[in-house]
């Protein structure tokens, strides 16, 4: 059986592929609800999970297609994917709350296949953080019909912005004549924070009536739209938390009925330094990829036990790969690194499935293996999140979107 040299081709499925009825037979079913099965079946039909039962499947006479592997989990959810090209964010202004990153996404991009190969089925796609407030992020599936609209799970799900130095990078003060429209504020961290506060106050005091972004900001301040704010370092995390507390306590916001924002801190690499700050304000966190040698962007120091520290402090957190296509940076490996830092397996599984689903408000559809949820599944060749395990199949909405060589099944499944 010359199974090793098979080139692993992402299965390209026809545009109008119908979801099939599947029987998944595994040694381990990790449902993500705390109930796990040894030797179990997951049944899929019409794009949804129809059953999760113990059993080995011999007596099953359904006409389903059978997939076998060592383990199955829900499809992974990555809440921190950035669309890393400059065309994903409108930089003519620093504050563009109403612009939608969904309008910039390319359903034909190769990145989706890479995510599928890593077992990621749902992502929150956000614009790159060149703006202070970049716009509306979208929750969508990584596989599906070749149209962003058809893959969208939740449109305009989250208002995206950033603290820190990234939004001001590229702006420069105009000494003499401005050379281009990047000769503008903000050029410093405090300028970035000012843009946030300015946008919020203008909204509360109704000074931005004409602004197309006003309605979005109102919804964000009223808590109807979560705000994902990037903050790598402790000082930026503090700034974000203090900004939230300011909105919650200042009379201007209370008077306008806009004092209940919901913040999630994205890329909170230094969250481990002051977890109590996040705990007391109930601010959830999305973590960035683990660095190999201690420091990462903005020179922030990310200790590998950050997930464990947050877990112990009661701060909800999700892990993220930032959409990297590198094998060692994949979301599944991030969960492994979190485990190396002391996090337990169930908590690691939650951090890449049910918790991000909840933070994004799509937990009714994805995030766990429960009857009635979308049939988004990942089949593993061993224990999930170990580097010695790989994804052998990825199913999205009941359609097999990726399959690779599979020891249990044998050669790539013939159709």
């Amino acid at each position: 059986m010359t199974f090793l040299s098979v080139a692993l081709v992402a299965l390209s499925v026809a545009q109008d592929a119908e979801p099939r009825a599947w029987t998944i037979q595994v040694e381990r079913v990790y449902t993500g609800t705390g109930r796990n099965l040894e030797k179990g079946l997951v049944l899929v039909s019409a794009g949804k999970i129809s059953a999760v039962t113990p059993g080995a499947g011999e007596e099953d006479d359904r006409p389903n297609d059978v997939l076998k592997a060592y383990a199955v989990t829900a499809g992974l959810v990555d809440a921190g994917v950035r669309v890393t090209n400059w065309q994903s964010v409108e930089q003519s202004k620093e504050v563009t709350p109403h612009l939608r990153v969904a309008d910039t996404l390319d359903p034909f991009a190769l990145d989706w296949d890479r995510q599928l190969r890593g077992g990621v089925t749902t992502v929150l796609a956000s614009p790159v953080d060149r703006n202070v407030i970049g716009g509306l992020s979208v929750v969508l599936k990584t596989g599906g019909p070749e149209s962003i609209a058809d893959r969208t799970v939740k449109a305009d799900a989250v208002l995206r912005g950033s603290m820190g130095s990234e939004p001001s990078a590229g702006n420069h003060p105009a000494f003499g004549r401005p050379t281009d429209f990047f000769s503008r504020r903000p050029t410093t961290r405090m300028g970035v924070e000012w843009e946030w506060r300015n946008a919020f106050f203008d909204t509360a005091l109704n000074l931005n009536e004409e602004d197309p972004g006003r309605a979005t900001l109102v919804a964000a301040l009223q808590g109807k739209l979560p705000i994902f704010i990037q903050a790598w370092t402790t000082q930026d995390i503090r700034t974000a938390v203090f900004l939230r507390e300011e909105v919650e306590s200042r009379p201007e916001f209370a008077a306008a009925g806009m004092n209940t924002p919901r913040f999630v801190i994205d890329a909170a690499a230094e969250a481990w330094k002051e977890p109590q700050l996040l705990a007391r304000s109930q601010t959830p966190v999305v973590l960035p990829p683990f660095p190999t040698a201690g420091r990462t962007r903005e020179n922030s120091q990310m200790a590998w036990n950050v997930a464990k520290v947050l877990k112990d402090a009661g701060v909800p957190f999700a892990l993220s790969s930032h959409g990297s296509g590198d094998v060692e940076q994949r979301l599944a490996n991030q969960a492994g690194y979190a485990m190396a830092g002391g996090l337990g397996f169930e908590d690691a599984l939650a951090a890449v499935t049910s918790t991000p689903a909840r933070l994004l408000g799509v937990e009714d559809r994805v995030g766990t293996l429960e009857v009635g949820k979308d049939a988004d599944l990942v089949l593993w060749s061993g224990e999930p999140f170990q580097p010695g395990t790989r994804v052998v199949a990825t199913i999205v909405d009941g359609v097999l979107r990726y399959e690779g060589w599979n020891a249990v099944q044998g050669a790539a499944i013939a159709r």
């Binding site: 040299s5 992402a10 420091r295």
Partner: protein, 485 residues
């Protein structure tokens, strides 16, 4: 400049901290018994509750006999013993990996390896106990490499084997393939011409070579230098009457190449793709060193796997184990698992680390398992196979009687992400104790050092000069913290 010096001082003190052996680990007169819950020997089945007895730096016995009364005992029933990983090729650990000289076989990494470089610290931490340090790929023929241990204050202390091989680069970024291949060929042609000229001059009674040798500081009349020897080896070309030349008179710049051609030196040939592989094999055949060649691969070199199999040479794989091509018709990405190709073609392959920290050899071996390589073969690709390739198979690569006393003590399965190296024994001495590893605590727990400054190099080396006496220094970070589920 100050920052570098500060780092250097810190690192030196840190290494000193490593070197100061804890009382537990001081071997009694060179005898050490390691009792562990499991020994992964890689030379047969695992041994439960076994003991490894080391004397004089060598493993004397491996079994369940419970140790000797006259040896210092390390007793860790919760840990697993494992042989050290072997890095078949690395360009790290030097002052700088590349030189400006195109053909420089006279250079030796001995002069540029920096014993206090953080790379070696990382190797200890990740359990890589033997590293073949070679020059980088920006040369035609580079200098001589050396297999070293990641421990020792001087290069001599670190050396496992000097002159492990010459580095040759068949392709070079920024240069046309034709030019680079010709540069390599010309080096051998120059060698030949040099030798022929020596013979000719000797016939004509000139003594230029002798005077040159004296100028270069070699005494052509001393010992071995005095003797002449006919040209040995299997090269298709030979220089007649070479025995008339005292070997000491061969130019020191050419002499290592002569050793290569005579089959007395290995060659590590870097190939950036399939084309380079073919060129490399040709040049090796033309100059008689095919039997001593190891190919260091990159890019799409795996496409030439058949030719490599035919030539019977072993390979060191690129750190990227999955090669991605784009299908020209559909535009989709096609991933090829490179080790699988070589396994299928029955070519011996060794792995390289992706980086020196989190994705070291264990990670690469684990990835191989995920993609279908049987576990024992994946582990062998980073232990026994590189040991054999480096001609140190009798000393490294497994825990067996007679081999070097180099042992890792792990707190779990060697390929699990939650496992870490707790202790390292090198030549029968405990040289690494994770509970005292300051940098691990920085990376893992974010523990900052009391006097650490905010200005640093950005790669995480905030090292305190007083690390040995730091506040948390004596607390064991707890091997059990890391082992979960």
């Amino acid at each position: 400049m100050t920052t570098t010096m500060k780092r250097a001082t810190c690192a030196a003190t840190l290494t000193a901290a490593f070197l100061s052996l804890s009382p537990e680990a001081r071997a009694g007169d060179g005898r050490l018994a390691i009792k562990v819950g499991r020994i992964v020997t890689l030379a047969g089945p695992d041994i439960e509750n076994g003991t490894i007895y080391i004397e004089g730096g060598r493993i004397v016995s491996v079994g369940t006999d419970g140790g000797r009364w006259d040896a210092e005992v390390i007793d860790h029933p919760e840990l697993t013993a494992f042989p050290g990983w072997v890095e078949a090729h690395s360009t790290r650990g030097m002052d700088r990996p590349n030189e400006n000289i195109e053909v420089a076989p006279f250079l030796d990494v001995r002069d540029s390896i920096d014993p206090i470089n953080f790379y070696f610290e990382d190797c200890l931490r990740q359990g890589v106990l033997a590293i073949n340090v070679q020059q980088g790929n920006l040369c035609a023929i580079g200098g001589q490499g050396r297999v070293v241990k990641p421990f020792g204050l001087t290069i001599e202390d670190m050396t496992l084997r000097p002159s492990s091989g010459l580095k040759i680069a068949i392709a070079r970024p920024g240069r046309s393939r034709a030019l680079q291949a010709q540069a390599v060929r010309r080096a051998f042609r120059d060698l030949r011409q040099h030798l022929e000229k020596l013979v000719q001059d000797k016939k004509e009674g000139k003594d230029t070579a002798r005077r040159e040798a004296l100028f270069q500081g070699r005494d052509p009349d001393k010992d071995e230098n005095k003797k002449g020897r006919a040209m040995e080896g299997n090269a298709p070309w030979k220089v007649a009457n070479l025995e008339s030349i005292p070997r000491g008179e061969v130019d020191e710049k050419q002499e290592p190449l002569l050793r290569l051609v005579e089959g007395k030196m290995m060659a590590f040939v870097a190939c950036d793709g399939a084309i380079s592989v073919v060129q490399a094999l040709d040049i090796a055949r033309e100059n008689g060193f095919l039997a001593n060649t190891v190919l260091v691969l990159d890019g799409d070199a795996w496409k030439a796997a058949d030719r490599i199999a035919e030539a019977g040479v072993p390979v060191v794989l690129a750190p990227q184990l999955l090669h991605v091509d784009r299908d020209p018709i559909t535009g989709k990405e096609v991933e090829t698992f490179v080790p699988g190709i070589f396994r299928e073609k029955k070519v011996r392959f060794a792995l390289q680390s992706l980086n020196s920290s989190a994705q070291s050899l264990w990670f690469q071996a684990a990835t191989c398992v995920g993609y279908g390589i049987p576990r024992d073969e994946a582990i062998a690709a980073a232990t026994k196979v590189p040991a054999d390739i480096l001609r140190l198979g009798d000393r490294l690569g497994s825990i067996e009687k007679g081999k070097d006393g180099n042992i890792l003590l792990l707190n779990g399965d060697p390929l699990a992400v939650t496992t870490s190296v707790q202790f390292v024994v090198l030549d029968g001495n405990v040289v690494y104790d994770r509970s005292k590893d300051v940098r691990v605590r920085q990376i893992l727990e974010g523990v900052e050092q009391p006097n650490a400054s905010a200005v640093d190099s950005g790669d995480g080396d905030d090292v305190d000069p007083h690390s040995g006496a730091s506040k948390g220094g004596d607390k064991k970070s707890g091997a059990s913290d890391k082992k979960k589920d």
